[in-house]
């Protein structure tokens, strides 16, 4: 299986590689502006991100060397490893602002909830691939993947990191709806899902999380608290108008009015400085990757490839939608980076690994196994 076929080179996914480089470079350009004047961060953040990107490309090339089918064999090992990391984060994790999301490795602070998203995609893809009989899943058959989702979900909610935890649910729902379900199953799932909402509201959400959602529903109620972030982000984006204020000229960003502007609110900086034109250009580049990923799913050589590619696409898509929706004031503020664009090693490396898997599937679309 490690034998390298020359056909792989002819089928190499140059398009995806170029698209990823473009978006990553846009991210770097933006990161430079967002951190240029920020004291205590500045160049070190920029250099770290460049380093993560280089590591990320290495990860891509490492991943495409091996046929993706090997993942069906390793997925439970990877799953268990991820769960252990999540537990470790809760036990020995670094406490930052009351949340325990990071494991300090000295040179790198790993945020295990990031790879957990990809692991879930992988796990669900192999599960559905193995169990699919073509007759449609029953609710009982879905209990296993539901459990596989809820375990990391619960661990991430404990950190607490509501945004990432919700992401797991989005992935589960997207992938489960993608495989064939019985109608009764669909209705049951919807019912269970809906009944969880009030339970979660009253028993699981921390006061600050509830506050965020309340603020989103009525931003005026708390203009200087949580609503402040949304308001400042909207001002930044809106004031960019058609052509933007110019690179490094965004006053909202440069004068600190934007919170988290190199991570979750990176796109606010971009929209402020490059305007509507620049924003549309970015969306085009980013969603090209997503659409190309859909195409990869469509042309995959087997069902595992299809499921895996679709899961990764939904991962990339939902993260972007939640992040942009938050930045544009359409969704409540939850911690959610914009993949490839926001600063952050865990997110970037996870995303690059996911891209590597997509390219892997693409390269092997004509291969019929050995």
């Amino acid at each position: 299986m490690l034998r390298f076929d020359r056909r792989l080179l002819t089928n190499f996914d140059w398009i995806m590689l170029v698209a990823v480089i473009v978006v990553a470079l846009l991210g770097l350009v933006n990161l430079y502006s967002a951190t240029a004047l920020q004291q205590g961060l500045g160049t070190s953040v920029f250099i770290r991100q460049v380093a993560y990107l280089l590591v990320g490309f290495t990860v891509i090339f490492a991943i495409i060397m091996v046929d993706y089918k090997v993942l069906t064999k390793w997925n439970y090992h990877l799953y268990i490893m991820t769960i252990l990391l999540l537990v470790a984060a809760l036990v020995i994790g670094t406490d930052v602002a009351g949340t325990q999301r990071w494991i300090n490795l000295g040179f790198f602070r790993l945020q295990p909830s990031e790879p957990a998203k990809l692991m879930l995609v992988l796990t669900l893809a192999s599960y559905y691939y193995r169990k699919d009989t073509g007759a449609g899943f029953t609710f009982r058959e879905l209990l296993v993947p539901l459990g596989l989702t809820l375990l990391p979900f619960a661990l991430i909610v404990r950190q607490p990191d509501l945004g990432t935890a919700m992401m797991l649910i989005f992935i589960f729902v997207s992938m489960t709806l993608f495989v064939k379900l019985k109608w009764s199953t669909l209705l049951t799932m919807a019912g269970v899902g809906l009944s969880f909402v009030p339970l979660a509201w009253f028993f699981y959400l921390k006061p600050y999380q509830r506050q965020r959602i309340m603020t989103f529903l009525d931003p005026e109620s708390d203009p200087l608290g949580t609503g402040y972030h949304i308001a400042q982000s909207k001002i930044a984006v809106g004031s960019g108008a058609t052509f933007g204020k110019g690179y490094m000229q965004g006053t909202q960003a440069q004068l600190d009015f934007l919170p988290e502007r190199h991570t979750d609110f990176a796109f606010s900086v971009w929209a402020e400085e490059w305007g509507f034109i620049g924003s549309i250009f970015f969306l085009a580049c980013y969603f090209f990757i997503v659409l190309w990923g859909m195409n990869i799913a469509l042309t995959a050589r087997d069902k595992f490839g299809v499921l895996l590619a679709f899961g990764i696409v939904s991962l990339l898509f939902w993260q972007a939608f939640i992040n942009l929706g938050m930045v544009l004031g359409l969704l409540p503020v939850v911690g959610m980076p914009l993949p490839l664009f926001s600063y952050g090693g865990s997110s970037l490396l996870t995303t690059m690994a996911a891209i590597g898997i997509l390219m892997n599937i693409r390269m092997r679309r004509y291969m019929t196994g050995s």
Binding site: G240, A241, D302
Partner: protein
Amino acid sequence: MLRPLGNINKMDPAELTMLKKRIDAATAIMLLIVGILVLRLWHLQIQQGSEYQQRSESNRIRVQQLAAPRGNLLDRHGETLVTNRPRFNVIWIRDDTPHASEVVRQLASILDLDTTQILDRIRAGANQPRYIPTRIKEDIDWPTLVTIENNSFNLPGVQIEVHPQRDYRYHNMASHMVGYLGEISRQELEQHRGGDYRQGDYIGKMGLEKLFDTYLRGEKGRKYVEVDVRGFAQKQLQIQEPLPGNDLQLTLDLQMQRAAEAGLKDRAGAVVAMEVNTGRLLTLASAPTLPLDAFSGGISRTVWQGLLADRRAPLVNKPIQSQYPPASTYKIVTAMAALEEDIITADSTFYCGGSTVFQGHRYHCWKREGHGHVDLEQGMAESCDVYFYQLGQRLGVDTLARYARKLGLGRKTGVVLEHEKDGLVPTREWKRQRFNEPWQDGETLSVSIGQGFNLVTPIQVTRMTAAVANGGRFYRPLLVTGIIDPEGEVLREFHPELEEETPARDSTWKLLQKSLEAAVMNVQATGRSARIEDITVAGKTGTAQVVRLARVELFEDDEDIPYHFRHHAWFTAYAPAEDPEVAVTVLVEHGGGGGAVAAPLAKEVLEAYFRQQKTPVVLLPESLIRRDGR
């Protein structure tokens, strides 16, 4: 459980179509959501773009007010009376200070404060936004300033702030007229609505500072600075320099004012000097003066209580707000009435035996042994009471009142300053209304020597004297000559204003003038201590009884008389007698005799006038006005 790896087959066509359909559906949903994002961007950036641009601008731009230097007050020669000086405050900017406790310790030793005092100040400012500096100490002196500047490297976060501050070059000189500044009150803010007045501004609270505030204050400048989210200035965008206020050139003569205030010493009283032919006020002194420096920046409670408790009433602007019995200065009115009503001629005499009896009551002359046969000139010169009793008796109170009014008594002179008093000219009608009692003819006698119900202000008496000197012309008292803008251009000029002319026979004015001259120049003249070298002075003394004479005469020596029982000393004069230029009135409260106390003071003021080169009041060239280095 796992299928062999190599065993994965190509998918069957049916499944492939099914998956393709699902991928298409998912793609459609995705594109729909992307469409929502694009629409949202369109809405925020294109539709509401300009609105958000404004909000972003107001986010980042803070407007700082720059205080405008207030206009100067100049005397009639262009000498600066009040100007501005920089006031240096030590301020503390919290975010710039990494080793706060060390800095506080050093600062305490430089400023000679306790560390706890500094910490208290810092704590008091703690609930303000961080970019608003805390004032540690205000108005530090030069050596302290230099020490702080030299140590600035060791004092991060400590800065010096400069504010213009009123500088009273001659301390409390002319304090009542100048007035003082204070923080604008709610009512004043309401009054000046629409003007350039803001909360926290300083505004004139009294005197010229108040009346000419709009001219003096100038226009505040504005500094537009870009600030970060914490409000700290990042860079300066635009600056609109403040426009200094306009100067007021006063009619005041600093030399004369100084002579007057020095002469009053720590006594209570007033000195007014006026140009006879224009109405310009050269001196307007009220004693005791107000502590102007203590007023600036809010007066302390103890100082204020002290001012209220002082029996010399320092808060009252005496030349225009205090009403006194005119005493013998009123004899001018009585004499004029008698001349005009043909009751006397220059040669008419009355016999003074030290007293006269009227309607069964005995009325005394101040000189118990009597003056003998007295004509107008001697009566005025020696201030013979019996002579004027005779005139008053023949004139009646209402005729006296008519002439008092002709000489400007009983009504405001119209000087610009606030709260001027009317004085009081009693008549039969007035008494009936006031006390519901008929007039007693004996009271007319008291009125005729200025000891009845009548009350006058020093400025009224000055104007009366000036009118006698110039033959009946009444000018509105002028205090301000002009308003000069910072470029030296005259914005407004205030010209002498002839208000009315009292008609009287020339001979009447001549005789009055002659008798007043005699009252200073005669051997026995009561006002002889007002004489000055080379110049003839004409004037009239007055000694106003505060209580009935009998009670005071128990005391051998004037010094033994309790303060509140002592007489008010009056003297009013003009000079030169031949060609009058200036009229001066002095009143010393509870000072004693007019001839002994008030006349010498008037002399000082007149000497200050004539000593100076007689520069006419003209607006000086810019070079001279601007030399205060503002």
